[in-house]
Amino acid sequence: MRTRWTGTAGALLALLAVTACNGDGSPSASESPSVTPSSVPTTTLATTEPTASATPSWPAGCASPMALPAGATVITATVSGGKVTPPRKTYDVKLRSIVRLLVTADVADEVHLHTYDRHAPTKPGCPAVIDFEAGIPASVEVELEDAGLHLFQVRAR
């Protein structure tokens, strides 16, 4: 008999805890990204650059990229000495938004956007640019191909 009470009490307590914890967050309301309990800021929304004009100080002698539509997200990273700056991060972007990856490296290599399977060459002095529509609801890896260096992740949701 006692176990039945323990069982019921425990179940009710747990039920209470779940509803209290969830508070006003209903299934439809809390689709917001990055409800992460960790203290380390791990996700950021990438910066939105002004459109129409190409990125200021685009190096001479490198094919300049096409103009980006309004509302596009630009993610930048720099590779020097085998290390990526900012250190490997995850970027959240809106599903089906246009995203530009801008990678400046000090070696001749190739930037590979997984799953969408896009490549762009880098060389010292000329950044790699990949423009794509983030249509796949997943977290995809971007890496420097030959070095096998993971640059960052892009999450579209």
Partner: protein
């Protein structure tokens, strides 16, 4: 083109599950655990030998030797083509079918197939087929070897095999290099065949890691055999209760659970910031440490919890960790489904693309070599619900299985109190599993 990263094949990871979904899932698991304590049956009910015999024509079809040999031939042919492609096909992992078929179709696919059909790999394993053919050709009995398999060996050889494979899949650098994998598989197959000729076909059931894996999962299949040999439909939990613990089985299950947990850990942002920019062999020490640590945590928590269950009523009973290992199997299966379901459904579509041109010579055997993967075939919401659902269902089944075992081993109050430690550990595994799906 396929890409390789993380655990063998990938480059794409699932989005974190919505927080509210994780919370509800965890909550349901905990609520049901307490409810089980209070309300589940008081006398043991799960048995392996109960079931309803399948109707004649169905049983005849499923059990027919013709079907069996057709499957064996197909699997053997596919194995030979794939291993051949490993050496003769494209050198890179993008167009060589072997790494993909090994890590995605075989390793992940074995779970649903075994859940559905039972000890699938034991029935169709190409190694068993080869051993059978060699025995027939030389006129010897495939079941007999030169010596008896020592009972104390138990499942330890399979433990070594599964640990090696999981290290290869989760930690090794260049883990998808086709030539290397071809060599590994040939060496593994040869070693297994030598063992089988030494100890008879019973060797495979103790030492072939994938067969042990498939047979273990197949314990939860709705199909089984009655004591008189007839095929029957049965309660999956009854099949689970029929697991006979032998030396090494606890280690095997612990490694399965720990390695899947480690796979989840490697996809978290916490791990990626910890691992930094190390690539190739530089990343191996940390990866190995992480894998060993995850398996170690599972091992210690499980053994402590089962030992703390108390002293069983029967003095000659099974040591407790072994007696309860069957209840961890559903949890391990739930973890596996949660982590690999989307890989099978999305990247798995590569199967027919790669199968059309295994030797990278421009062939198009099935007319599918120009197909592409549809990454939106299942929505992120479906993936998330399946992940949480698998963990919670695995947890609930594990709790029920553990409860039934506890009341058969202990008497009265001791039976209830004996369940607390294991229940707590199972809740911890489930909360941990749900937390891993949050991706932080």
């Amino acid at each position: 083109m396929i890409e390789v990263l993380a655990h063998g094949v990938g480059g794409r990871t699932d989005l974190p599950v919505p927080f509210w979904m994780a919370l509800y899932g965890a909550g349901i698991a905990v609520v049901l655990s307490f409810a089980a304590l209070g309300f589940l049956w008081p006398t043991p009910r799960l048995r392996e030998d109960k079931g309803r015999a399948l109707p004649g024509p169905v049983a005849a079809f499923l059990g027919s030797p013709v079907l069996l040999w057709v499957l064996r031939a197909l699997v053997l042919a596919a194995t030979l083509v794939l291993v051949g492609a490993a050496f003769l096909g494209a050198p890179g992992e993008e167009s060589n079918p072997l790494p993909f078929f090994l890590y995605v179709i075989f390793w992940v696919g074995l779970v649903p197939v075994s859940l559905l059909f039972g000890a699938f790999w034991r029935a169709v394993s190409p190694l068993r087929t080869i051993h059978l053919l060699i025995s027939r050709a030389s006129g010897s009995d495939p079941e007999e070897g030169l010596r008896e398999l020592p009972p104390r060996l138990g499942y330890w050889p399979a433990v070594a095999g599964i640990a090696g494979f999981l290290w290869l899949e989760l930690v090794a650098p260049d883990r998808s290099a086709p030539r290397m994998l071809g060599v590994v598989l040939v060496v593994y197959g040869a070693a297994q065949l030598v063992g089988a000729s030494l100890y008879g076909a019973g060797w495979f059931a103790r030492a072939e890691a994938f067969e042990v894996y498939s047979t273990l999962i197949g314990r939860m299949s709705p199909f089984g055999r009655l004591p008189d040999g007839r095929l029957a439909l049965r309660n999956p939990l009854g099949g689970l209760a029929g697991i006979v613990p032998e030396p090494g089985l606890v280690a095997f299950v612990v490694i399965l659970l720990g390695s899947t947990a480690f796979d989840g850990v490697t996809r978290s942002q916490w791990w990626t910031s910890l691992a930094g920019d190390a690539t190739g062999w530089a990343a191996v020490p940390m990866g190995t440490f992480g894998l060993v640590l995850c398996c170690g945590v599972v091992a210690v928590t499980y053994v402590v919890a089962t030992r703390a269950a108390g002293r069983p009523a029967r003095a000659d009973g099974e040591p407790l960790p072994g007696a309860f290992v069957h209840s961890v199997v559903p949890i391990a299966i739930g973890y596996a489904i949660a982590h690999y379901f989307s890989l099978l459904v999305l990247e798995g579509q590569q199967a027919w693309i790669l199968a059309s041109d295994p030797f990278a010579n421009g062939a198009d055997w099935f007319g599918t070599s120009d197909w592409t993967i549809d990454f939106t075939r299942v929505s992120a919401r479906t993936i998330a619900s399946t992940q949480i659902g698998a963990i919670v269902v695995g947890h609930v089944l594990g709790v029920i299985a553990a409860h039934d075992r506890a009341i058969s081993l202990f008497k009265g109050r001791a039976a209830v109190k004996g369940q607390y430690p294991l229940l707590a550990v199972m809740v911890a595994y489930t909360l941990g599993g749900v937390a891993l799906l949050l991706g932080t």
